[in-house]
């Protein structure tokens, strides 16, 4: 068996472009789903009862359905009902965000609940409003404690963007598929892409672990 990496080297700009889309999709999804997750977690903890029931249902449903199904449904089925057609990139962004936000909401809720109740009461006793106590006392500690879980979410997001290949988002995975088909060199193309994904994901995993080790003391109380 011989490895011929020339299809990868000759098309390095094409792969670099795909990598750029993977990174962009991951980054936007990460920001959007963490913000949406925070909102959902706060509404679930402090919102009206009917909304809580609805949100728990949403979170558990997203935990039950594969991300592929959400992706395919939004890209192929949603246009049939609403007439709104998303371009592949935006469909992937919406689907991934809806899916990951449910997990982010659970992570955030666990983080907030891990801070003892007495801290909120102490904040209120000092004359802070609920929102102030949350923002100035609870959340800063919760965020530090959430770092390991956010780290796994980040790796999960980067890995899940590869699934966007099924709706032809031209990210790294999809471009690998294209070049592998054109060059008839699947072995070298996929092996190269394995190396690229590992080279992105491993530092992210390790980096988040380091970050937590460095700041863990700030979350203790």
């Amino acid at each position: 068996m011989d490895f011929d990496f020339s299809p990868v080297i000759d098309n390095w700009r094409f792969f670099a472009g795909g990598l750029g889309i993977t990174v962009a999709l991951s980054a936007i999804t990460a920001v959007a789903s963490l913000l949406l997750g925070l909102t959902i977690a706060l509404l679930r903890l402090y919102g009206p009862r009917w909304l809580r029931i609805l949100l728990v249902f949403y979170i558990d449903s997203m935990r039950a359905i594969p991300v592929l199904v959400v992706l395919v449904w939004i890209y192929f089925a949603l246009p049939v009902t609403t007439g709104v057609t998303f371009p592949p990139f935006w469909a992937a962004l919406v689907a991934l965000t809806l899916h990951i936000a449910a997990y982010a909401a659970e992570v955030t809720r666990a983080g907030i609940e891990s801070v003892r109740q007495g801290q909120m009461r102490a904040g209120l006793a000092l004359g802070m409003s609920r929102a102030q106590a949350l923002r100035k006392i609870i959340l800063p500690q919760a965020v530090v404690r959430m770092l390991p879980a956010i780290g796994s979410l980040l790796t999960l997001i980067i890995k899940d963007t590869a699934i966007a290949t099924v709706i032809a988002v031209p990210e790294l995975m999809h471009r690998a598929d294209t070049i592998s088909g054109q060059s008839y060199q699947p072995v070298s193309v996929y092996t190269a892409v394995v190396v690229i994904y590992f080279a992105i994901l491993f530092p992210v995993t390790r980096g988040m672990e380091r970050l937590y080790q460095r700041y863990a003391h700030l979350g203790r109380s």
């Binding site: 068996m1 359905i65 594969p66 592929l68 959400v70 449904w73 192929f76 790796t155 995975m173």
Partner: protein
């Protein structure tokens, strides 16, 4: 817009078979990945440096790759590398087992490490062999702690089986997408697919929550 939901009823046998394949893949993968995970965890905890490093490398490698890429890689590269012709189903199983074994290995390692050293030392002091102490003292306690994590992995795996549709293993999502593109009843079939996944996955997610409440480690 006119919808024809009858297509879902007409395809009920195909959908049922697909759902059966999804369940079969989940069960078979887990059945292989639990021993696989234990083997990797024991290698990693063993005193042999080479075994330990090798296990760590395998675990880190597969935990840091998108599973869909592992599936493609197994489909295109494994037959050439190993010089064997594998069916899509075997390929899918191999890819899923490699992925889940790595996650399980970390779960088991964490479970065993979470049992305080004093327990092993106490068992040794009572005259047990290392093996006896492991099997009678450490493993029974560790298995209780490991159970909730294994349950979460189970649900993730159940969902991840949908990805083997890319190498045309006829599980639920592949079957649904096939029918949806042949019949042009896209909304109906894809909604049915989501509903079936939901019906199967929702109780599992709830069960995981229950297992966490019952067996989860409380500090």
């Amino acid at each position: 817009m006119n919808l024809h939901w009858s297509i879902v009823w007409e395809s009920r046998y195909a959908l049922l078979q697909g759902a059966g394949m999804t369940v079969m893949l989940t069960v078979a993968t887990m059945a292989l990945a639990v021993p696989g995970g234990i083997a990797l965890a024991l290698m990693r905890l063993s005193s042999s440096r080479i075994a330990s490093k090798a296990a760590a490398a395998v675990v880190e490698f597969f935990r840091n790759l998108p599973i869909i890429l592992v599936i493609y890689w197994a489909f295109y590269v494994m037959p050439i590398l190993l010089d064997v012709q594998l069916s899509p189903l075997t390929t899918a199983l191999a890819a899923l087992v490699l992925n889940v074994s790595s996650y399980n290995a970390e779960t088991f390692r964490a479970g065993i490490n979470s049992i305080r050293k004093g327990q092993m030392e106490a068992a040794l002091a009572m005259g047990m062999s290392r093996r006896q102490a492991m099997l009678k003292v450490v493993v029974p306690q560790a298995s209780r702690r490991v159970l909730p994590v294994l349950a979460s992995t189970w649900v993730s795996l159940f969902k991840d089986t949908s990805l083997v549709s890319v190498i045309s293993v006829s599980e639920l999502s592949f079957v649904s997408m096939q029918i949806s593109s042949h019949s042009y009843r896209v909304l109906e079939m894809l909604t049915a697919m989501a509903a079936i996944y939901w019906l199967m996955g929702y109780p599992q997610a709830k069960l995981v929550d229950w297992i966490y409440r019952k067996y989860g480690v409380k500090e």
